[in-house]
Amino acid sequence: MPTVIFIEPDGAEYPIAVKSGTTARDAAVNNGVPGIDGDCGGECACATCHVHVDAAWMSRAGMAEPGGMEANLLQFAEGSTENSRLACQITMTDDLDGLMLRIPDGQH
């Protein structure tokens, strides 16, 4: 079971072990991580699951595909950067065990 670690703006960490194949959004919503609402149900349609991927993990987690729906939505999300992703578009695998996702300031 890979673990995804959500980091709140104040530094609080939420490590969550999930089954391979679970999205980071589901991991957060099902475990009540504050700041990840996931309003659209993980359909890449609301941007309420915006996270910043820790720089060290960018190469493995990958960027949002330029011009795709995810990138389209991210451009309107507050505090969006090059490291921004929508957590519903990140599927956890053993390869991502230990992935660190920071929750943008003010998402709640």
């Binding site: 659209c40 890449c44 941007a47 451009q75 507050e78 300031d105 003010g106």
Partner: protein
């Protein structure tokens, strides 16, 4: 009423081929629900060949609506094709060629939205919260306890207008102008708000003129975190043509006014119709943040958004042709029992209450959703501190519109603690 008249309810007897859900009177009388129930069951993607607005498709199920929402390459919001409401934006009689980013496709939409959205982003709202709370408290403290008052006028309109004035940094004493312009912008002569399209046009031009004054003033001042200043100082918006400027203003005024206003009233009514839920709330005010999305789902203050197909497409097995008008009925999708458990019940601690259509989805998703939720949360927190009950004491009067789902009057009496 005899059973005979009951079974002749037009919602269940009209042939599907003749069913037209666009009549504003069905919304005013709040009888539209049974039409949508039937469509969801018998013909979820329904073609109406003839209506006051021309032929149109009704998309009534949650997941089908979602599919249209996220496919902006196929389903356009462009005002020149008719825009975002059943009533075409550029139709002859209403013609004031307004341009607003909600009725644009990417990339132009993207640039303008990005310029304006920081004003309603969470970090800016943190600064606004104490002001909104103070003003909400002020409104509530000025109300008489035990006397009949109109909640719409005294609270819902006051609060949303105050918030809007705060967002625009609009001259305080003149803030009711914003209410008037919001009403006028969505009015047709049959509503009685304006007597003619000519009058509507005149008043909206006055609105533009007034804002032009504020605009010029802000242009000569250093940037501030209000909506006008942001538009003046952003390269994406500062050289906007006049009608585009007016269009975007109206978008922000209507978007920030009508919708939240009606959710504030709708919440009071829903709690009165569901006394057990009201008791639950009084026993645990900590439920307020969960209740707010449920109120917004329940009210669905905008009944629909419309798109125009740019190419042939398929929704729910139906063939949509290029150029067809496609209406996504949020009010219906928000009652779809395939996605929402017990959708016809108002449940303030509903799990997953944020999963509703009222804000739309995709790139056009409501930009002001956090402001709306913030206002609703604050008003309910402040109400609970002061009153044991906001009691509805007469029949609500509803808005004559197939777009705005709202109230023109809601008589209440306040009970103290």
């Amino acid at each position: 009423m005899t059973t005979d008249t009951l079974t002749r309810d037009p919602a269940s007897t009209v042939p599907l081929s003749q069913m037209d859900v666009s009549d504003p009177k069905l919304f005013q009388s709040d009888t539209i629900g049974s039409y949508f129930t039937r469509l969801r069951r018998e013909d979820p993607v329904h073609y109406c060949p003839e209506s006051a607005y021309g032929p149109y498709w009704s998309v009534t199920k949650f997941n089908d609506i979602m599919q249209v929402e996220v496919n902006h390459q196929t389903f356009s919001s462009e005002s020149k094709l008719g825009g975002i409401t059943l009533q075409d934006m550029q139709s002859g009689e209403a013609s004031l060629e307004l341009e607003m980013f909600i009725a644009m496709d990417p990339p132009k939409h993207d640039a303008q939205r990005k310029a304006v959205s920081p004003a309603v982003a969470p970090s800016n709202l943190v600064l606004l919260e104490p002001i909104i709370r103070e003003r909400a408290g002020f409104i509530l403290d000025s109300l008489p306890v035990g006397e009949e008052i109109d909640w719409v006028d005294r609270v819902s309109i006051e609060l949303t207008t105050m918030t809007l004035a705060t967002l625009f940094d609009f001259p305080w004493e003149e803030r009711r102008k914003l209410t008037r312009w919001s009403d006028v912008a969505t009015a047709t002569p049959e509503t009685g708000v304006v007597s003619s399209f000519e009058q509507r046009r005149e008043e909206l031009l006055d609105c533009a003129q007034y804002f032009k004054g504020l605009w010029d003033k802000r242009a000569n001042e250093p940037p501030k975190p209000d909506l006008i200043s942001m538009m003046v100082h952003s390269p994406a918006t500062r050289d906007m043509p006049y009608l585009e400027f007016l269009g975007n203003l109206i978008l922000l005024i209507v978007g920030g006014n009508d919708t939240t206003r009606n959710s504030i009233s709708g919440g009071v009514l829903a709690l009165n119709q569901n006394p057990a839920e009201y008791r639950k709330l009084m026993a645990d005010p900590g439920l307020i943040p969960k209740m707010i999305p449920e109120i917004i789902r329940w009210q669905t203050p905008l009944t629909h958004m419309r798109r125009t197909a740019l190419m042939d497409a398929e929704i729910g097995g139906k063939k949509i042709r290029k150029g067809d008008k496609v209406v996504m009925w949020y009010l219906s999708g928000n009652r779809d029992d395939e996605v929402i458990d017990r959708p016809n019940e108002f449940i303030i601690d509903r799990p997953n209450s944020r999963h509703h259509l009222s804000f739309g989805f995709g790139v056009h998703r409501c930009m002001g959703n956090r402001v709306a939720e913030l206002q609703l949360r604050i008003i309910w927190e402040e109400i609970l501190k002061r009153f044991s009950k906001v009691e509805v004491v007469g029949a609500p009067e509803r808005t004559l519109s197939n777009f705005i789902r709202g109230f023109t009057r809601l008589p209440v009496k306040l009970r103290g603690h």
